[in-house]
């Protein structure tokens, strides 16, 4: 059987939940950021797959992907700036160390 939409959807779903799992279990903020990148990529894949197989004549899914990539780049840059600032203040980028505001 020729792989099609459903195969790609499987990959993207799996990738999404791998990312979610990583987000749940990694203590390191950079690792959590990587998990988020995985989730965003699975979404991109989804958009491309639907664009390719359901509305092949259109370009909207593709543009969404491009914009998501741009936003992801901006988000990563800001997130890393925050992480470095946090590291400066607490000498740690453990997510559990940033809990001063609890209760």
């Amino acid at each position: 059987m020729q792989p099609g939409l459903y195969h790609i959807l499987f990959i993207s779903t799996a990738l999404f939940f791998i990312g979610v799992f990583g987000f749940f279990t990694r203590k390191n903020l950079i690792n959590m950021l990587m998990s988020i990148e995985l989730i965003l990529n699975s979404v991109n894949l989804n958009f491309i797959a639907f664009n390719k197989y359901v509305w092949p004549g259109k370009l909207d899914g593709l543009f969404f992907t491009i914009f998501i990539i741009a936003i992801a780049a901006a988000e990563t840059a800001v997130a890393i700036a925050i992480i470095i600032n946090l590291y400066r203040n607490t000498q740690s980028i453990d997510v559990e160390s940033a809990e001063d505001l609890k209760y």
Binding site: L33, N89, D100
Partner: protein, 178 residues
């Protein structure tokens, strides 16, 4: 089973395997490298479905930009070869359980639904199509989002500088002062 199919399955296995490794590796640098491979795998899938432009963007921005940025920050905040502390087993189990439940639920829904798949004979969009559409101002053109994104990138740039460059040693708190 032709060559194209085999390549697809290889790509899929490559992507998922490295994705899995990326979220489980105990050394953060390795984790970053595995992420890089995952992203390359996704770019491969884009190539496989003939979307060369988006694949190129994926490689240039993600592999060439974001992952490099991540590796930089890893070097800034970690000693090389340092192993990450272990996560609680219960957290791992609950996280896996929740993720698996979500995964199962979504797949169930996806495979129950009949998508109106159109034949593959439509040619893939060329870079020319993408470019004229992206800067098109007529109906369906993406000029306005394009401009908005550029503003966003500018704001993010300024924000990064403001956040990261702010260094006030006198206000530095001792670590983890609960």
């Amino acid at each position: 089973m032709n060559g194209s199919t085999i390549i697809f399955y290889l790509l899929a296995a490559f992507t998922l395997a490295f994705g899995m490794l990326a979220v489980t590796a105990r050394q953060i640098f390795r984790s970053a490298i595995y992420l890089l491979f995952t992203l390359v795998g996704i770019a491969g899938i884009y190539f496989w479905i003939d979307y060369e432009f988006i694949a190129a963007v994926q490689i240039v921005v993600y592999v060439g930009g974001i992952v490099v940025l991540i590796i930089f920050s890893v070097f800034l905040t970690h000693q090389a070869g340092e192993k990450l502390p272990k996560q609680l087993l219960s957290r791992k189990i609950f996280g896996a359980l929740a993720a698996f439940c979500g995964f199962a639920l979504v797949l169930l829904q996806v495979f129950q639904h009949e998508f109106a798949v159109v034949g593959k004979d439509v040619p893939s969009p060329t870079v020319k199509d993408i470019g004229s559409k992206m800067l098109g101002t007529d109906h369906g053109g993406y000029a306005l989002p394009f401009e908005v994104i550029s503003m966003l990138l500018l704001a993010a740039m300024v924000g990064c500088i403001v956040i990261a460059m702010r260094s006030r040693p006198e206000e530095k708190e001792p670590a983890n002062s609960k």
